[in-house]
């Protein structure tokens, strides 16, 4: 990323929605007072969830929530790219296709036929894909949903003219800083923390639960070693596949981990 926006006095920012649940936009809305401070520093020109509507205007930064899942999405993301200096996908849908990408490995048309009384009214692509599969992206924020502080840190870095910090370390690093005992060790539950990207503040292990990987793969994620440990904790191959095939099923590292177990044929 080389086009800092600090030379703009109040950079123009848009928040776009694609196929998604709106949770990442809510993370931004839930910032409370910080959102007011943000509105002082940037010009929020398009943010449907918050009110402003101007989807076609030129902006300095476009945050994009959601995956590309319909034929219109393909055209719309191209249009947004052309009208944005920086484009930043936010959240699991935008970075990995989201939960709706579970259909990528299935017969989507059959699902539609089973679920909807008027399947002909549904116009969706066979695959749900991340924004980066269609256009150049300048930075990505992972998470389901992303956290408000993460969003602010990115905006802040851009306002200051520096590249946003990309923390691809494991959830474990945040978990240990907060003083949580490792739930995999103390309770034998299959935690995805050791292969999952930090950013959530170790929310689930802090509540005595296992991480389910909603922030996507961390750097140097040793999924083979974790899958082997899950097996020794008593998980069946099918259950191990499902650990990797949830929110971020199409993230290449998690998909490869699952495929490796499936290919062994013992699922």
């Amino acid at each position: 990323m080389n086009s800092a926006i600090n030379n703009s006095i109040r950079p123009r920012v848009a928040v776009h929605k694609f196929s998604s649940c709106d949770g990442c936009q809510l993370a931004l809305l839930n910032l409370g007072e910080d959102l007011l401070a943000l509105a002082e520093r940037v010009d929020l020109v398009h943010f449907a969830e918050a009110g402003p509507l101007d989807p076609d205007t030129d902006v300095d930064v476009a945050f994009v929530e959601g995956s590309v899942s319909t034929p219109e999405d393909i055209e719309r993301i191209q249009h947004i790219r052309q009208h944005s200096r920086l484009l930043i996908p936010i959240g699991a849908c935008a970075t990995a296709g989201g939960i709706q990408a579970l259909r990528n490995g299935a017969d989507g048309a059959q699902w539609v036929a089973q679920i909807y009384s008027h399947p002909e009214a549904i116009s969706s692509l066979a695959q749900s894909t991340p924004i980066a599969s269609h256009v150049k992206v300048d930075f990505e924020l992972w998470g389901c949903p992303v956290s408000g502080p993460q969003m602010l840190a990115v905006v802040n870095a851009l306002l200051l003219g520096v590249a946003p910090r990309d923390n691809a370390d494991k959830v474990c690093t945040e978990c240990k800083r907060q003083g949580h005992a490792c739930v995999m060790v103390s309770r034998g539950i299959a935690c995805m923390g050791p292969v999952t990207r930090a950013g959530c503040g170790a929310l689930c292990p802090g509540l005595g639960r296992d991480c389910y990987g909603c922030y996507g793969p961390a750097e140097n994620a040793n999924t083979d070693a974790l899958a082997a440990q899950f097996a020794s904790l008593g998980l069946a191959p099918r259950d191990i596949v499902q650990r990797f095939q949830s929110i971020n099923s199409q993230a290449p590292v998690f998909l490869a981990a699952a495929d490796k177990i499936r290919l062994r044929g013992d699922e």
């Binding site: 943000l38 005992a181 060790v185 103390s186």
Partner: protein, 373 residues
């Protein structure tokens, strides 16, 4: 703790709460063992009689379970996932702050931590040895770390002798336990009828004096001494020597590093639970209004991506080199920095590794055979 037997006192079992009450009365915030997420952690005690009894920690590589101690002792649990490291070396803290004043000039100000006087009850010999190493790192003459010092000076340490080492413990092999020998304000050895109590500082003496305890009998002192010897003998793990510098540095290309890298998650848990690991990263957190910024430090790990990042490239991009960095710093190059190994034999890196990588087993494998040609 038995070098001056004539100064050892005896604290009856039923009076343990009086010790805690005395510390509270002297103004200490008291931390003691508590159960959280199925493990022993140090948390604030609000009741002098609130120390849990009858807990034992069953430990194995990658596994920790609390069980009942048939003898219902207070300190039969060997240790928990974290020593007393966070009480002196905070996991995250602000070091300084900068603000823009009305004239637009930058004003820098140190952030001084508010450190309460804290008494920690249940500190182990390995934890004390580790704290001495942290002191060597953070408090060398001429460049004392103000933030660490602020907390460290406020600590009152009540050590306990380990009578029931975990299966992952090997402090006897590193020479750091299981009986505390230095670095405590008070040390306790738990017997069936009560505690042999020894002061290690003027502050500790003042506490014992205030409790008006009778002297420990020679039989009680001997029982405690033997209990420590038995706990040392019961340890099943060990390192092949106390100085493995040459043994490890001559095996930097050993195939075992690849083998362990295949199992290692590079999650950094071993470094976070290690009581001597002191690596940290410094980060800036600017306020959204652009008028101020905090400069903070937080625990970092040699298993993380940024730790080995130099301008333009990463010196340790794979798990093999990261694991090698951890082990060779801890057991080899630590000697160059601090005159001893960085391992105190607490075994936390073994128990709390999610995949159960055993440091003693890796060292044995690395040093057993010659390097393959």
């Amino acid at each position: 703790m038995f070098s001056q037997p004539d100064r050892a006192r005896f604290l009856p079992l039923a009076h343990l709460h009086a010790l805690v009450a005395q510390l509270m009365q002297m103004g200490y915030q008291c931390l003691g063992p508590a159960v959280e997420n199925g493990a022993i952690v140090m948390r604030e005690l609000d009741d002098p009689a609130g120390l849990p009894r009858g807990l034992q920690a069953e430990q194995a590589p990658g596994r920790y379970r609390l069980t009942r101690d048939p003898h219902n002792r207070y300190f039969a649990w060997a240790n928990g996932p974290q020593a007393i490291k966070p009480q002196a070396f905070a996991a995250k803290e602000s070091l300084w702050r900068v603000e823009r004043d009305d004239a637009g000039a930058l004003q820098f100000a140190a952030v001084v931590p508010a450190a309460p006087a804290q008494a920690i009850i249940g500190v182990r010999a390995c934890d004390l040895a580790a704290l001495a190493l942290q002191d060597a790192h953070f408090l060398p003459a001429g460049r004392r770390d103000a933030h660490y010092a602020q907390r460290r000076e406020q600590l009152f340490l009540v050590a306990v002798q380990c009578a029931e080492p975990g299966a992952t413990c090997f402090c006897a092999s590193t020479g750091d336990g299981p009986t505390p020998t230095a670095g405590y304000d008070l040390a306790l050895a738990e017997l069936a009828e009560g505690f042999v109590a020894v002061a290690g500082s003027a502050k500790g003496n003042a506490v014992l004096d205030a409790l008006s305890l009778s002297p420990a009998t020679p039989q009680q002192i001997e029982a405690a001494r033997q209990q420590g010897q038995a706990a040392a003998a019961a340890q099943t793990r060990s390192l092949p020597g106390r100085n493995l510098r040459e043994a490890l540095m001559s095996r930097l290309e050993h195939p075992r590093w690849d083998e362990v890298a295949a199992r290692c998650l590079a999650c950094g848990n071993c470094t976070a639970v290690c009581p001597t690991c002191f690596c940290h990263a410094e980060i800036d957190e600017p306020a959204l209004d652009g008028g101020a910024s905090e400069h903070a430090r937080q625990w970092d790990s040699c298993f993380g991506e940024a730790h080995g990042h130099l301008h333009g490239f990463d010196v340790r991009s794979d798990i093999r080199t990261r694991y090698r960095q951890w082990l060779t710093h801890k057991l080899a190059t630590w000697h160059d920095q601090f005159g001893r190994s960085g391992c105190v034999g607490c075994g936390r890196c073994i128990a709390w590794c999610p995949v159960g990588i055993d440091l003693t087993e890796e060292v044995a494998a690395l040093t057993a055979s010659e390097v393959q040609p």
